[in-house]
């Protein structure tokens, strides 16, 4: 448990120190604020097409941060030390994912409120959109752990990560957009929670297996 906390704390500190926490947030806010400008003043069009766009922006913002998640640990030798810890590698991978969610996923979810309002979402729907983004980013990160681990040894593996994880980003995006669009909000939130749990349960196991192979 100590090793989990130590890994979590270090990753949070490193992401803050490196400014890595602000880049996805800036991307997300920038992209969602530009949409109303690009789509023009037609309020009806924005109301119907706008809110789901927060999900595209959130998915791409998370995707952009995945490439260095394990690559840095592989390159500087930290991964070797993780494998010598009494804690299972799976737990340490989960700790890194949890740190990433706190530093990147949670701020994205909170930024979803101003973004949704800019995209003409009804104010009553904003809390549900924030909650759905919190669950959705957890699902993205859980799946993203696998893509990041598989491509840790690949230089400029960003495109490869996108190919691996984007198909698995589809279910959260579909149900997240349903929440943002206001259809069947309760049911869609339950399914999103299921997606997040499944991704966080399976992601660390698959990612740890991939990392053990990378260590050779």
């Amino acid at each position: 448990m100590n090793a989990f906390v130590a890994t979590f704390r270090r990753d949070v500190a490193l992401m803050w120190a490196g400014g890595g926490a602000l880049a996805p947030l800036g991307f997300f806010l920038g992209a969602t604020m530009l949409v109303p400008l690009a789509m023009g003043p037609d309020r009806a069009l924005l109301e119907s097409a706008g809110p789901p766009l927060v999900w595209i922006a959130a998915a791409l913002a998370v995707l952009a941060t995945l490439e260095r998640l394990f690559q840095a640990d592989l390159e500087d030798g930290s991964l070797d030390q993780m494998m010598l810890s009494p804690a299972p590698l799976e737990a340490l991978v989960l700790a890194k994912g949890a740190a990433m969610w706190c530093v990147i996923g949670l701020p994205l979810a909170l930024a979803g409120a101003p973004a949704a309002i800019a995209l003409q979402a009804p104010p009553s729907l904003v809390p549900a959109i924030v909650l759905s983004l919190a669950l959705g980013t957890a699902a993205f990160i859980g799946v993203g752990l696998i893509g990041a681990a598989v491509t840790a040894g690949v230089k400029r593996g960003g495109v490869l990560i996108a190919l691996i994880v984007l198909p698995f980003f589809a279910p959260p995006i579909i149900f997240g957009s349903a929440v943002a669009g206001g259809d069947e909000v309760g049911a869609a939130l339950s399914i999103l929670a299921g997606c997040a749990l499944a991704a966080l349960a399976l992601g660390p196991i698959a990612a740890a297996a991939a990392l053990r192979l990378q260590a050779e």
Binding site: N2, A3, V5, A6, T7, R9, R10, A13, L14, A17, G18, A72, E75, D76, G77, S78, D80, Q81, M82, M83, L84, S85, P86, A87, A215, E216
Partner: protein, 206 residues
Amino acid sequence: MSASGPFQDKPALRVESLTLSRGERILVRALSFDAGAGEYVEVRGGNGSGKTTLLRALAGFVKPRAGKIAVEGAEEPTLALHYVGHLNGLKGAATAYAHAQHWAGLFGASAARRDGALARVGLTAQAELPVRVLSQGQARRLALARLVLAPRPIWLLDEPAAALDARGREMLSALIEAHRADGGLVVAAVHDALGPEPSQTLTVTA
């Protein structure tokens, strides 16, 4: 050397007809050796001869192509050993002290040991500096602090003296001698003798 210390009779490394490869190239063929408490094993060989691969196999990172590596007297082999490789395992943005703190959590070491480890490798004055401003030698010392920080019986060191100055080498030599006196086991891949008299020398030639 007669061993009597916390690790007495604990670690024993038994390697039987070990064959290692990198891709299709065989690097180590049918290597066998035994090493027990208090021993210091030097691994010698030219560049690219497989010293690093051998140490990584002993650490359990690389799967042997054939043969067996057994760590006797340890329930979980990976928890009985430390590995200091070419890569120091450091993060440029974090301070030396933050590293000590992180490793204390990662390896389950006490707070007292954490604070003593930096002093032992001569980094007290640099504790609050981020690693990116440390010199190569200082970064190496920080990596070696792991050995002191969490007591583990088997040390696998890959070119541990790389980038160390004369005092750093003396410090390393003293660390190894103290570890042997405690009944620990050290396996080091080196080009130049580190100082302590090896109890056996392995030569790898690919």
